[in-house]
Symmetry: C2
Subunit: 231 residues, 2 copies
């Protein structure tokens, strides 16, 4: 009875000061003016800079803190912890999920990403994929990290930010779990040849083939994790 009286009109004409400060700070972070790890100016200084009160600054800061983009350290300062609220929110959700569920989500995204990359890749994408794969072959030690970068490059080749951003968050969690489980054990990706095959399929723009290869790659990672669990 109260919400839709005259009409279901939105009237965001009025934007609170705290929200203005919040968006200003968020854009400072997104633009890189405040980088991850930086300590931002003290509340009093920000209040002077924005010409608003201490409490207004505090409201904006607390919002960013609660959503995980900033961290306040009493007696020290306030530090930038992340640069993307979407990634933070998805990451927090994944943290309270089981690994098998995350791996299923990864497979869902990765299969379609492989297909789309094969269909939509440009010549520039191919260059980047070749470079990423070269890094994989070069270093044996940091296999997992380079492996992730190659997959991220494939995701970028879909030219679909929704899919690639989502995938990046998911694959980061998978990577962290892989690192925990296979600490000393050489990663040594037996999937290395499969990566060459994947690049070849994407180059030929063969979607079905790309998907089949990705399935094998993900299966490889999955049994690695599963094996580490059992043994």
């Amino acid at each position: 009875m109260k919400q839709s009286k005259t009409m279901e009109l939105k009237k965001p004409v009025r934007v609170s000061l705290a929200r203005q400060v919040l968006t200003a700070m968020e854009s400072m972070i997104r633009s890189g003016k405040w980088k991850v790890g930086d300590r931002i100016p003290a509340e009093a200084e920000l209040a002077r800079a924005f010409s608003v009160s201490h409490n207004t600054i505090r409201e904006a800061l607390q919002s960013l803190i609660h959503m995980g983009m900033l961290e306040a350290r009493p007696g020290d300062g306030t530090y930038v912890m992340a640069s993307d609220r979407f990634a933070v929110a998805v990451s927090n959700r994944l943290k309270e999920s089981e690994l098998p569920q995350i791996l299923e989500a990864r497979l869902a995204l990765e299969k379609e990403i492989a297909r789309l990359a094969a269909v939509k890749r440009t010549d520039e994408d191919l260059k980047e994929l070749e470079n990423a794969l070269k890094d994989c072959h070069g270093r044996v030690r940091q296999g997992i990290e380079d492996d992730m970068l190659f997959h991220a490059a494939v995701a970028r080749a879909t030219h679909n930010p929704v899919l690639s951003e989502l995938y990046n968050v998911v694959i980061r969690h998978v990577q962290e779990n892989l690192e925990k489980l296979l600490q000393e054990k050489q990663y040594d990706s037996g999937a290395m040849k499969l990566h060459d095959d994947l690049l070849a399929a994407i180059r030929k723009q063969e979607a079905d083939e790309a998907e089949n290869i990705i399935v094998k790659i993900v299966e490889f990672d999955t049994v690695s994790i599963g094996g580490a669990f059992i043994s």
Copy 2:
């Protein structure tokens, strides 16, 4: 040099009052004590209820407001707008995305969801799917809404909350776009027979068949939207 002085120890012993209030409020919303659409108590009342200051309450409220779970209406009150911060964050990200990209994400999720539902469905899941499909056949008018509920039931049958929660957000955006584009036009889902086929495939636990059917269903929706765009 500053963050890891003695050790990289976490010390979550100290939890700010505002954060305690925030989590308390968030659990009130998640638990359903504060439902979507409800007006929550005034700030002064909350301050008394939680035995904290007006500003502390305000900090917690503003955080929930800024992340989209609450909405403050001056001279009126504060209302609950959403019940899940993860869903809100994903939804906000989708709002600034193009429909084709959202549809690609939907296809990625839906294909794997169909496979997993076929593999993992229980007899209880089958019951729910049959009921949801019955509703689809019953009403012709609200085709889109019931259609969405059936797909949501399929997602639930995967028993993977990550996938199903993500899918629910995505499909809601697709639905809203469908409704906008096909307002008066009867939805009349030519995909209706396909839904029967999908249920049959899930019943037989045939993953490949379920995936193939889902691809056809999504294609149907996609051309509906595309056609509406062109004409």
